[in-house]
């Protein structure tokens, strides 16, 4: 399959707009689950407001949250796909800028030193474009994540050492959730990266928080067991929706792992707010397939 760049640009634009307006089905189901189990009256009321907001956004075709985020595009390239990488990145950036200008969306992106806003949601190395590969024949998938800053500002890395053991990992996750309090707009999806190098560890935490649907499990059996334990544990802290108390601190804890060095024991936490937005489309020889 030869990738049509005009299609990529259009898809990049459409995905940004769809992501900020329509939450994925697994997140809506997550709200239903938390609403059923929450015992704190104020927390139940706040969850009700969040659910009502999702419906208002869909009815009025409006954004669920004002924060248009840092735009991230996760591209997965299947087998036998022909595309020029430089052109692909440029087409995605054009689509991102068009969504911002043409919708319009608030450009939340500035130069890190001058703080100048170009009003395109683009800048040096932004949108973030991550490239991965898959076995899927003749398809190129694009996932768009508008990552909100309230949750992104609560990202933590600890280069623990082997002597600290898995206890350090567990303690770090609990302490990160405590430190974040209501600032991350709970209930959150707590992404935990374990292992790898420092940068890979943070990247895994980000993928765990933003790219994995609720109800999915870590592919590694030990990782899956740990994330189930941590999900129960963080919801015993009582932080609750918006940090105002309750059982619903996190929809889930997601763990992603990578092999690491014999001397290292890195752990990273990245959180996704309750506006857990992502949208995906797949380019195939038969056309574009949009996924909820």
């Amino acid at each position: 399959m030869r990738v049509d760049l005009a299609t990529v640009e259009q898809v990049a634009k459409d995905l940004y707009i769809r992501a900020v307006k329509i939450l994925p089905d697994d997140v809506k189901q997550g709200f239903e689950r938390l609403s059923r189990s929450e015992t704190n009256p104020r927390a139940r009321q706040m969850l009700g407001t969040m659910v009502a907001n999702i419906a208002v956004a869909e009815e009025q075709r409006n954004l669920t949250c004002q924060d248009t985020g840092i735009p991230i595009y996760n591209v997965t390239i299947g087998r036998n796909v022909q595309v020029d990488g430089v052109d692909l990145e440029a087409a995605i950036a054009r689509g991102c800028a068009r969504a911002t200008v043409e919708h319009p969306l608030r450009s939340s992106v500035v130069h890190p030193i001058t703080r100048r806003n170009e009003h395109t949601s683009c800048g040096i190395r932004v949108p973030v474009v991550n490239i991965a590969f898959s076995e899927a024949p003749e398809e190129l998938a694009i996932e768009m994540v508008p990552k909100g800053s309230g949750s992104e500002n609560n990202t933590f890395l600890r280069m623990a050492v082997p002597a600290d053991g898995l206890d350090a990992v567990k303690t770090f996750v609990i302490d990160s959730v405590l430190a974040a309090g209501g600032k991350t707009c709970p209930p959150t999806i707590v992404g935990v990266g374990i292992g790898g190098s420092a940068d890979l560890c943070v990247h895994l935490a980000k993928l765990a928080a933003t790219s994995r649907p609720l109800g999915s499990h870590c592919a590694d059996a030990d990782g899956a067991k740990l994330e189930a334990e941590l999900t129960q544990a963080v919801n015993r802290l009582g932080v609750g929706p918006q940090g105002l108390g309750g059982d619903s601190t996190a929809f889930a804890v997601h763990v992603e792992i990578a092999a690491t060095h014999i001397t290292m024991n890195p752990v990273a936490v990245n959180m996704q707010c309750h506006a857990a937005r992502r949208a995906t489309a797949t380019l195939t020889p038969a056309g574009v397939r949009h996924e909820a």
């Binding site: 009502a52 208002v56 009025q60 949250c65 004002q66 319009p104 600032k183 015993r236 802290l237 940090g243």
Partner: protein
């Protein structure tokens, strides 16, 4: 746990009458501020032509559409989506907002810290918590963008909104030392050791 309907601006007495757990709904004027707005005002000494005395400010930077000024869109901006951002980053600006500009109420999400708490007590003010991330709903409470100042730092301009039925908002911090965020955080920290024990970890 009383409910208060405020038409802005309000007196010091009204701000002091609020207690944590109360709810408030606002009508009239509401000012939108953000990180950069306050950096410009308080670090770079830029004055605003708006009188904020007795008013409420909300931590926001809206999505807007630029249009020709009209009766409906007096500032030349149509509201698209107006929501609320995390307050904690702007902790150090609460006191100058109150002391220099006379602001009485701060609306945000996630809560503020010690100095804001002290400023509310000393100067007479309160923090009203909104449900963050519920911006589509919040936008339905905004009638118009009436005016805008410091617009060279758009979208982090100083926005003047006209609101109707803006709320209910929860009083999260009051002028009497009440602070729901602090109480919840302190209760959560007190559970830390037991939660770690449930994971087989001895707390240190």
């Amino acid at each position: 746990m009383a409910h208060h309907d405020f038409t802005m601006p309000v007196t010091e007495e009204a701000a002091r009458s609020l207690r944590v757990g109360d709810t408030v709904t606002l009508d009239g004027t509401l000012f939108g501020i953000r990180d950069r707005t306050q950096i410009e005002m308080f670090d770079r000494g830029r004055a605003t032509r708006f009188d904020l005395a007795g008013h409420a400010v909300i931590h926001t930077a809206p999505n807007v559409r630029k249009v020709a000024p009209s009766e409906r869109f007096p500032a030349g901006y149509e509201p698209v989506c107006i929501g609320t951002t995390t307050s904690a980053r702007m902790e150090r600006f609460t006191r100058p907002l109150m002391a220099q500009c006379g602001v009485r109420l701060v609306i945000g999400k996630g809560g503020l810290q010690e100095d804001s708490q002290a400023a509310f007590r000393e100067l007479g003010g309160a923090y009203l918590a909104i449900v963050g991330g519920a911006a589509a709903l919040e936008t339905t409470w905004v009638e118009a963008i009436e005016d805008v100042d410091l617009d060279d730092v758009n979208p982090e301009s100083l926005w003047k909104f006209r609101v109707r039925g803006f709320g209910p908002l929860l009083v999260g911090m009051d002028a009497h030392g009440g602070n729901l965020f602090r109480d919840v955080a302190s209760e959560a920290r007190s559970r830390r050791a037991a939660v770690l024990a449930s994971l087989g970890v001895t707390a240190r």
